[in-house]
């Protein structure tokens, strides 16, 4: 009686839960699940530890973007007051969040780790112009933390581990590179520690406190 077994299953489910509990629903706005380490959220434009912007206006992010949501224009650095350490800097930088699919390809393309993604996804705007984030809104503040705009709902930890895959120390899977840090420091954070489960060269065995890196260079 294979046909009737299904009826027994649904009836049993009415009174019995699954292994993980009575219901599998997360009551979203009231209870929130912890975000994964490599969560893709709203972008931030990072700065070096000396306050210089990392973006060099190369437009690789805009070129790779499958949703065509990034608009970048580079300009030559003013010699007396340079914005970035290189020759050029990102003079216009806009991301349209009505189009962005948070694929993280821009982060992969970026040669200077200027653009990374935070874990913020709870931002809802009420007009189209708010949806287009300008450079002023994307670039991190003087403390190195992302700016918290009025319509954004930041939670503790949303700005940590940004784009953690960048900080996987052995991206090609070769054990030789394990523990070798190849990323630059960030304003407010210094050189971020590697992804969970790995450690940088010369670091103690226990997971270091990330806030310790702040400010020194």
């Amino acid at each position: 009686m294979g046909y009737l077994q299904g009826f027994a299953v649904t009836l049993r489910k009415m009174f019995k839960g699954t292994e993980s509990g009575r219901v599998v629903t997360t009551q979203y706005p009231d209870e929130k699940r912890p975000k994964p380490e490599r969560f893709h959220g709203r972008h931030v434009l990072n700065r070096y530890e000396d306050g210089m912007e990392k973006c060099i206006g190369c437009e690789l992010c805009a070129g790779v973007c499958p949703a065509r949501c990034i608009y970048v224009r580079g300009a030559d650095n003013p010699p007396d007051d340079p914005v970035s350490p290189g020759e050029r800097f990102g003079y216009v930088y806009e991301i349209n969040y009505l189009r962005c699919i948070h694929c993280d390809l821009c982060v992969e393309a970026c040669p200077t780790e200027a653009i990374t993604e935070s874990k913020l996804f709870e931002f809802s705007f009420t007009n189209r112009s708010d949806a287009i984030y300008t450079k002023d809104e994307l670039v991190v503040g003087d403390d190195g933390r992302p700016q918290q705009l009025p319509w954004e709902d930041w939670h503790p930890g949303d700005d940590e581990h940004t784009s953690a895959w960048v900080r996987a120390t052995s991206p090609s899977g070769r054990a030789d590179y394990e523990g070798q840090v190849a990323w630059s420091g960030e304003l407010g954070y210094g050189i971020r520690s590697p992804e969970r489960g790995q450690k940088a060269e010369g670091e103690p065995d226990e997971e270091p406190d990330r806030d310790d890196h702040g400010g020194h260079h």
Partner: protein, 408 residues
């Protein structure tokens, strides 16, 4: 087997004792009252039914379901209805505007009308279903026309037009495909529906729903009087007629977007939704009336009509739960499977069963040996069934040899 209950008179209102003494103001008012109560009852029932279905399905899928609007989310349907009411009303440019606007009502009105012939209460063990309402003897049903069951069949046929015209008038391909499916499905299964119903009519000898329920009092339910099979066929055919899962090809989201109501929005969509669930309730009520004795059951209250209403409600809930359970359990049929089931199994089976029942009755009337008559009838049916199976197999073999149909 025609039961010799004398008709009180050839009135269009049927057997309702309310109208035997002529129709005055009081009679009109009582009738209007009954109509109003039935209308309100159905609307509230639909509201609760949608909530009930969502909750039960959630439970079966380890989800929570609606839980924010009112206690246990019971007002969710009301909130949805209000939302739909205030949404923008869109009419596609290529649509046939008049038919497009008419179709939801063609769906909804039959759903309401069917409920008019369902006796929802009354003491059928002695009082023939009569109750006293404002000092007048009447039935607890809006109308009891002598052709009651035919009205049910007629209305379910009219309801096909609602679905068909909605799809056709949308001026859009998916609704059109859905409506083609819907008309084919509903017309096919109406045959099985009608034939299984004929078994009931054969036994009760009347088309009037009140008579059918009276015949079943108190434990003489048609479920066992007609030997179970007609009710099973009726239930399956009713599920197909309602376009409920597993026969919801009309609304197969994966294939047809939303189905026949893809282009509908706002209040017109709400009307279709309302009609769908109302049909479910009325069809369950019809099953209860035809096979489970309607309000019949042991009288356990001192108030005469109350126990009948309660029994009716309990039986109704049984079927409503059954439909929800069916939806949670079974995957959707493929279109050819649906047609196979309807034409090759249900229609022959219900027809054969009707003939077996008839032979039993005829043998009783003529004084023959009933058991022998039934055995002979079953043997003839078995022979016919094997002939049918042979014919189907031959047809299938020919299809396999000539899949394109080139050499027919």
């Amino acid at each position: 087997m025609i039961v010799g209950v004398p008709l009180p008179g050839p009135t269009v209102f049927g057997l309702d004792p309310l109208y035997t003494g002529g129709v005055g103001l009081a009679e009109v008012l009582i009738t209007l009252f009954k109509v109003g109560v039935a209308f309100a009852l159905l609307m509230v029932a639909v509201m609760l039914m949608i909530w009930f279905e969502r909750k039960v399905i959630s439970d079966m899928q380890n989800r929570i379901g609606p839980n924010l609007a009112g206690p246990f989310g019971i007002l969710q349907t009301l909130a949805d209805g209000i939302k739909l009411f205030f949404k923008e009303d869109l009419i596609p440019e290529k649509s046939d505007r008049l038919v497009f606007k008419l179709a939801p009502y063609l769906s909804l009105v039959p759903a309401f009308l069917v409920f008019a012939v369902v006796p929802v209460g009354g003491n059928f063990s002695g009082g023939n279903g009569r109750v006293s309402l404002f000092g007048h003897e009447t039935f607890l049903q809006v109308a009891d026309p002598p052709v009651g069951i035919l009205l049910v069949l007629a209305m379910s046929s009219v309801a096909v037009y609602g679905v068909m015209l909605a799809g056709w008038s949308s001026g859009s391909k998916y609704p059109l495909l859905a409506s083609v499916r819907a008309s084919a499905q509903m017309v096919s299964y109406e045959a099985a529906l009608g034939l299984s119903l004929a078994a009931v009519l054969l036994k009760s000898g009347s088309l009037s729903t009140n008579q059918i329920v009276s015949e079943q009092s108190v434990w003489n339910w048609n479920l066992w009087v007609t030997w179970v099979v007609p009710m099973v066929i009726f239930l399956i055919a009713a599920t197909a007629e309602l376009n409920r899962p597993p026969f919801d090809l009309v609304e197969a989201e994966q294939e047809l977007v939303g189905g026949f109501h893809t282009e509908y929005s706002s209040i017109r969509f709400a009307l279709f939704y309302l009609a769908e669930f109302m049909n479910m309730i009325t069809m369950s009520a019809i099953v209860v009336t035809l096979f489970l004795g309607g309000p019949n059951g042991p009288d356990f209250t001192s108030v005469g009509w109350l126990s009948g209403v309660l029994w009716f409600f309990v039986k109704l809930m049984l079927f409503l739960f059954f439909f929800v359970w069916l939806r949670a359990t079974l995957p959707r049929f493929r279109y050819d499977q649906l047609m196979d089931l309807g034409w090759k199994l249900l229609i022959p089976l219900s027809l054969g069963w009707l003939l077996v029942l008839a032979s039993y009755d005829v043998a009783g009337d003529r004084g023959w040996n009933r058991a022998a008559a039934v055995i002979v009838a079953l043997a003839i049916m078995a022979a016919l069934a094997s002939l049918l199976a042979l014919a189907l197999r031959a047809a299938r073999q020919r299809r396999e040899l000539d899949p394109q149909g080139e050499f027919v």
